[in-house]
């Protein structure tokens, strides 16, 4: 065994077997998505051939226009975009401010409040779904309106805790003390010290929040109708019914996933770092 001479040599080097197994895992992870692309670019009869066709065809554009013509996907995309961006902006802002308070400000009740935030992360969200619907429908009259999706998601425990974990280490206390001595208000500290330091974590949290909001299915299914759908609802509608055109269903799945897939390709590295850092600090 090579005793650790430098950090780089401290890990064992992968043999061929490791590459083979990991390669297989990656292929299994990618294949269903690749197959979606194949199916979305072919006709329904073509994808039902045995043995299966494995290369993309030329009908992607045709299928996509069909899906947009047959469903409300255009409205759904706009709705999902509005909801996901609003929720993301709100969660990132409230989490950064709250995370900063937990990480760096001294105040009465800090410990118990932080513990309660962590505890709420463990509570299953579905427990309150029936009253939440009653509130939205009967009290606020928000059923089938986008604010029913936005307001309850405007802040969450995960984001708060995530930003707190990051800011504990990212903002030096000395910098805050110096700012205070210069007569900075707390808002001034947020503006000049915290926000610049928090930017990397804010973008990861923003990414994760956007994906979660875009992908959410249960609550939109409860509170929205097909009159004013999100992308996931339109997608589930496209797949209902006995006779399905699977090339169109999978085209819908592809279109519905496209924004998050693009975001993931652009920011995948940061997302991985964010997930892994959260794991060790938690």
């Amino acid at each position: 065994m090579t005793a650790g001479r430098s950090r780089a040599t401290r890990q064992l080097t992968a043999g061929r077997g490791v590459y083979v197994v990991l390669g297989a895992a990656v292929l299994l992870s990618l294949f269903p998505l690749y197959w979606t692309l194949v199916a979305a670019s072919r006709s329904n009869t073509e994808i039902h051939r045995m043995p299966p066709v494995l290369l993309p065809g030329g009908r992607l554009w045709h299928n996509a226009t069909q899906v947009f013509a047959q469903t409300d996907l255009r409205l759904a995309m706009v709705n999902s975009l509005v909801v996901a961006t609003t929720v993301t902006a709100s969660v990132v802002l409230t989490s950064t401010l709250g995370g900063f308070a937990f990480a760096k400000l001294r105040f009465r009740g800090r410990g118990p409040l932080l513990a309660s935030v962590v505890a709420t992360m463990m509570v299953p969200t579905q427990l309150g779904i029936i009253p939440l619907y009653i509130m939205m429908a009967n009290w606020f009259h928000w059923a089938d309106h986008l604010q029913a999706l936005i307001v309850p998601a405007a802040a969450n425990a995960f984001g708060l805790f995530f930003m707190r974990q990051y800011l504990v280490g990212a903002v030096p206390d000395e910098l805050l003390d110096a700012g205070r001595m210069d007569g900075c208000t707390t808002r001034g500290l947020v503006w000049h010290v915290v926000l610049p330091a928090a930017r990397p974590a804010m973008s990861v949290l923003g990414m994760l929040t956007f994906m979660a909001a875009w992908n959410d299915f249960y609550w939109p299914k409860v509170v929205m109708t097909q009159q004013n759908p999100t992308v996931q609802l339109t997608l589930s509608e496209l797949a209902s019914g006995y006779i399905k055109d699977y090339s169109l269903v999978l085209t819908g799945a592809l279109v519905a996933s496209a924004p998050v897939l693009v975001a993931f390709l652009l920011m995948g590295r940061q997302i991985i770092d964010g997930i892994m850092q959260g794991a060790t600090k938690g």
Binding site: M1, A3, R10, L12, T13, A14, L22, A25, V26, L28, S29, P32, L33, W35, P52, S95, G98, A101, F102, L105, R110, L113, T120, M122, V123, P124, Q126, L127, G128, I129, I130, P131, L132, I134, M135, A155, N156, A157, D177, R180, G183, T185, T186, R187, N215, F217, Y218, L235, S236, V249, A253, A256, S257, V260, L261, F264, I275, M276, Q277, A279
Partner: protein, 320 residues
């Protein structure tokens, strides 16, 4: 530092008493101000509905019967629950799918993390690859898998036919539908958990392995006696989180169903989970009170299973 801060304050205070008072107010109030959005949102849309679910579960409220709102029936809904075969069926399905969807998933994730921890080329691509399934939506993923699991033209059955297995109707059987749903969950979450394990593995001091190697411990022995115990907090975390997630499965069984009413969870209710049953009673049959009782029962089940898992995972250390 503290002394100089005090000096600075002392120097300034007499000159600007109003500013000083403002500063103190700022320091006492700001933290609560910054935390208020979360606590307001959670209080109104999280805590209150949960408690309200408890209250509704003690009433005979049905949306299709005006005036039934708030009619107190005590524990009647829960008593009916105990005699309801569909409820117990849903409990069985939820637990069965839960086990199939979490145990292999976490074991696979542990193995993958171990391999990803080797020094290798293209590691970022590997990590991106295994995480990719996690960013796609439940709806999209389930519909894709419904096609792959199709009885006549699905690729899974085509692949199995190469080994002489004939057209499996995945939705029809209990075990087959459970396995298919578990496969969907596993596909979506294994990579994510592998990354959590990998992060924990990277923080294990290398010296422990060196010492063990000097003592002649095999790789497998090192994995069992060093890696697993050092990963215990992370394992505990992932076990709890995936348990909570698996016992709330909703979108997967709903969209996997090919029935006209997707909330029945298959022709014989063979994959109707508790979340699906609660939705079916509340949304399809307008039984608010009964649906709320199912929600609370589901919550109790989650707490129970999570506690059992927690204790079991804690005993892991005791065994070492």
């Amino acid at each position: 530092m503290a002394a100089s801060t005090a000096a600075a304050r002392g120097a300034r205070a007499p000159a600007r008493p109003a500013g000083h008072r403002w500063h103190r107010l700022d320091r006492t109030v700001s933290p609560y101000l910054y935390l208020s959005p979360f606590f307001v949102v959670f209080g109104v849309f999280g805590l209150f509905p949960m408690l309200y679910t408890g209250y509704v579960s003690f009433t005979a409220w049905r949306a299709d019967r005006p005036g039934s709102e708030g009619r107190w029936v005590g524990l009647e809904n829960y008593r009916r629950l105990l005699d309801d075969p569909f409820f117990w069926n849903a409990v069985k399905n939820t637990l069965g799918i839960g086990v199939l969807a979490t145990v292999p998933q976490l074991l696979l994730a542990l193995g993958l993390a171990h391999l990803l921890n080797y020094r290798m080329r293209g590691r970022t691509l590997m990590r991106l690859g295994i995480l990719l399934p996690n960013v796609t939506s439940v709806a999209a993923v389930t519909l894709i898998f419904v096609q792959l699991f199709g009885r006549d033209f699905g690729m899974v059955n085509w692949f199995l036919s190469l080994f002489g297995v004939d057209h499996v109707d995945w939705q029809a059987g209990t075990l087959s539908s459970w396995s298919a749903i578990a496969a969907i969950v596993t596909w979506r979450w294994t990579g994510y958990n592998a990354l959590l394990y990998l992060a924990a593995m990277q923080s294990v001091p290398f010296e422990l392995y060196e010492a063990a190697a000097l003592d002649g411990a095999s790789r497998w022995r090192q994995f069992r006696s060093i890696t697993i115990p050092m990963l215990r907090p992370t394992i505990l975390f992932t076990v709890i989180v995936s348990t909570i997630g698996a016992l709330q499965l909703f979108g997967e069984p709903m969209l996997f169903s090919q029935q006209q009413d997707p909330t029945t969870g298959g022709s014989q209710h063979q994959f109707q989970t508790l979340a699906l049953y609660s939705y079916n009673q509340f949304w399809g049959r307008f039984k608010y009170g009964y649906g709320a009782a199912i929600s609370w029962a589901m919550f109790l089940l989650i707490v129970l299973v999570a506690a059992v898992n927690f204790l079991a995972a804690r005993r892991m250390r005791g065994a070492e």
